[in-house]
Symmetry: C2
Subunit: 419 residues, 2 copies
């Protein structure tokens, strides 16, 4: 452990120094670095694809599961997506230095807040090498330094990508220590990073549930965490049938494995007899298994009974749980109890209940008449997203540039003293 | 520990339930509760004073130090201050339910953010019983539930105050579990509270450095912490002498024991010969000991040399350290290294350096030509303050109502699905 500690301390120290430099560079310099990175991804795509091939070959040899290999593969399409992502970040307004709420106080001073960089971000992630580019780009634009610790399965891809990032930083006159990729696959690195309070200001894990849970249980550095997405659609008694079917279909079946996919339906008992058979029929056409509460089984034959545990489950699969509720109060109560507080939606034409749902559901995204699949940084207009936070503190929901910043108070006086 | 765990779990469960109720009560109801509390503090002041006498008597018997006893005493003046504090909170705008940044996206949905309560606050504090009233009032107005764990030395005062708070909550139809005062002085309670992740959303410690450090080192619940206040005044070469003297006098001598008191001076070498003797003379008139760097000693005779450690020290006493710096870059570098990132000020008439200081100093409050003593919730117009945060995440600087809230995303659609 001592070697790991020393290794991490050096990286942390360099990151801290780089963060002080990054905090004061101009918007132009940051955009230049990102634009150079786009050029390099275009001109040196072959290097990236070649490094990635090594990782994919090793992953196949190590019999990594299919889904993980899929996430690992970089194609020229992936590179185009990276480039588009960077361009979006270039186009975003620089959040740093914004001054807000600057008001005069009775004492004569002016008090306001200024948006500043957080400092050093520690990112711990698995498989997807595109995270390396996304996270580095967001970190550069928000004036932070970042330490990236990707999965061992993508080590060659990540080192190749970091080579291009460093070239771009150098060319624009920025410190290459603003983006450091950990090239050791030693597992003790993760344990060390999450306790590196003197050098890292925030840890962002992005990966499986067990990784995130271990990190949030053990980290002493603050964590912007993303646990599971057990999302709900509640169909109110005043729901429109057509909108209901469209929203459930999109929320559940557009993609099965994403965190904003709906895993549970709540149906008002007043419309269950009419709506439920049509909803189940549509879901069955998409080969989605429905597991229902006792009341649900009365309306639709031949479906499996949901256990208590089903209502807590993020399936990430072609399964959905279904419960009939008496009214909106029961629906909200159920959601606040069973949901993972990620994203929950109501379908209704009733104004009062739409407002009540928005106000009382305790989740990072609450929606009216829209698919839960919209819970996403790009869809929300953040330009890019470094993750989706299920925290309540600091930042909740999709995390873009502003989530990587902090507000400090500024006071302007003219020799003012306190009475 | 099992009994403590069960005891805390019950309190946590009640708090969680109460927080769901508090999240939806009207502004009127919350203000009613606070107004009733003002009436009760007026009509039942004698009960409070009597309970407080018990604590003070016990404290004297236990030979508590003078400063702690001073903080413990409730006088009718203290009660007036509590009442004024509550009235300020009544007069504040209700932060809950505010919707901001609601914009249409190309997909057709509207995306915005809504300000909501955090949930359950755990407050751990020492001595001052007025914190019980301040924290409970802020928590009620911000729609949260709160668990208060005061020091054992103020247990009778806190129980008496909580009696009035419960009466006020009841009279306005709110759950009395919205404010729970822990009436056990068992020390294991604190250790248990800071790990009660299932029920407590944020821990706010307010007390000595060792308490805060223990809590932030061991807590798994997020902490809004306030470590020390090693504040600086930097006197730039273009400083006005008159403003300099006024600001240093106020920053250092108005009150010695507060966290926004200046503990260290940085003086530009260009004006040191002229300014330094006058600054030291003024400080000596206030019986403040000056400890200087080698260069300082050249300009002023008969003062003690500052050690490296002096520059890290929050004296909370009639001592100040002093260092001569070459330019603003050295000053900023020194502050970012030695400051506790609480509050730091520059005195200058130069526009460019004022802006540079505001931008580059990495502290929760950064000031130009104003006394560091202004770093305070009331002075900043927050109406009241539950503490001053030296965190970078979530909230930085004085923490008022908004620091006790969170922003969730809301999405308004009309049957929209994702492409």
């Amino acid at each position: 452990m001592t070697n790991t500690n020393q290794y991490l301390k050096n990286i942390g120290l360099e990151a801290k120094k780089a963060s002080h430099l990054m905090a004061k560079v101009s918007t132009q310099q940051k955009n230049d670095a990102l634009t150079f990175l786009i050029e390099l991804l275009n001109s040196k795509a072959a290097t990236i694809l070649k490094a990635n091939e090594k990782d994919v070959k090793a992953a196949k040899k190590n019999k990594l599961d299919r889904a993980s290999i899929d996430r690992l593969i970089i194609s020229s399409k992936t590179i185009d997506a990276m480039i588009n992502g960077i361009q979006e970040i270039v186009d975003l307004r620089d959040p740093i230095g914004e001054i807000m709420h600057l008001n005069a106080r009775p004492s004569g001073i002016q008090v306001g807040q200024m948006r500043v960089a957080l400092g050093v971000i520690g990112m711990i992630y698995e498989s997807r090498p595109n995270v390396t580019i996304d996270a580095a780009s967001l970190s550069i634009k928000s004036g932070n330094a970042i330490i990236l610790r990707g999965g061992s399965e993508s080590i060659h891809s990540n080192i190749a990508l970091s080579g291009l990032i460093h070239e771009a930083l150098k060319k624009s006159g920025l410190s290459i220590k603003a983006v450091q990729v950990i090239d050791s696959t030693d597992r003790s690195i993760v344990k060390g990073m999450i306790k590196l309070n003197d050098y890292i200001d925030v840890i962002i894990p992005r990966g499986g549930k067990s990784l995130t849970k271990m990190i949030s249980d053990e980290a002493t550095v603050p964590v912007i965490k993303h646990l599971d997405g057990n999302c709900h659609v509640f169909v109110d008694k005043d729901a429109d049938l057509n909108k209901t079917l469209k929203i459930i279909e999109n929320s559940k079946t557009q993609r099965l494995g994403t965190c904003n996919t709906t895993e549970s339906l709540l149906i008002s008992k007043h419309i269950a007899r009419d709506f439920l058979p049509k909803i189940v029929k549509m879901l069955h056409q998409h080969k989605v298994e429905v597991r229902g509460c006792k009341e649900t089984l009365k309306h639709v034959k031949g479906i499996k009974k949901a256990s208590e545990n089903d209502f807590y489950t993020e399936y990430l699969d072609a399964i959905i749980s279904c419960k009939i509720v008496i009214d909106i109060d029961e629906a909200i109560h159920h959601i606040n109890q069973y949901s993972s507080h990620h994203t929950d939606a109501i379908v209704t034409e009733n104004y009062e209940r739409a407002m009540q749902f928005l106000k009382e559901v305790d989740s990072s995204s609450v929606m009216v008449n829209a698919s839960t699949r919209f819970a996403d940084g790009f869809e929300y207009g953040l330009g890019a997203e470094i993750g989706i936070s299920t925290n309540k503190l600091h930042v909740r929901g999709p995390v873009g540039l502003e989530g990587l910043t902090s507000l400090k108070y500024i006071v302007l006086g003219n020799g003012h003293t306190r009475k």
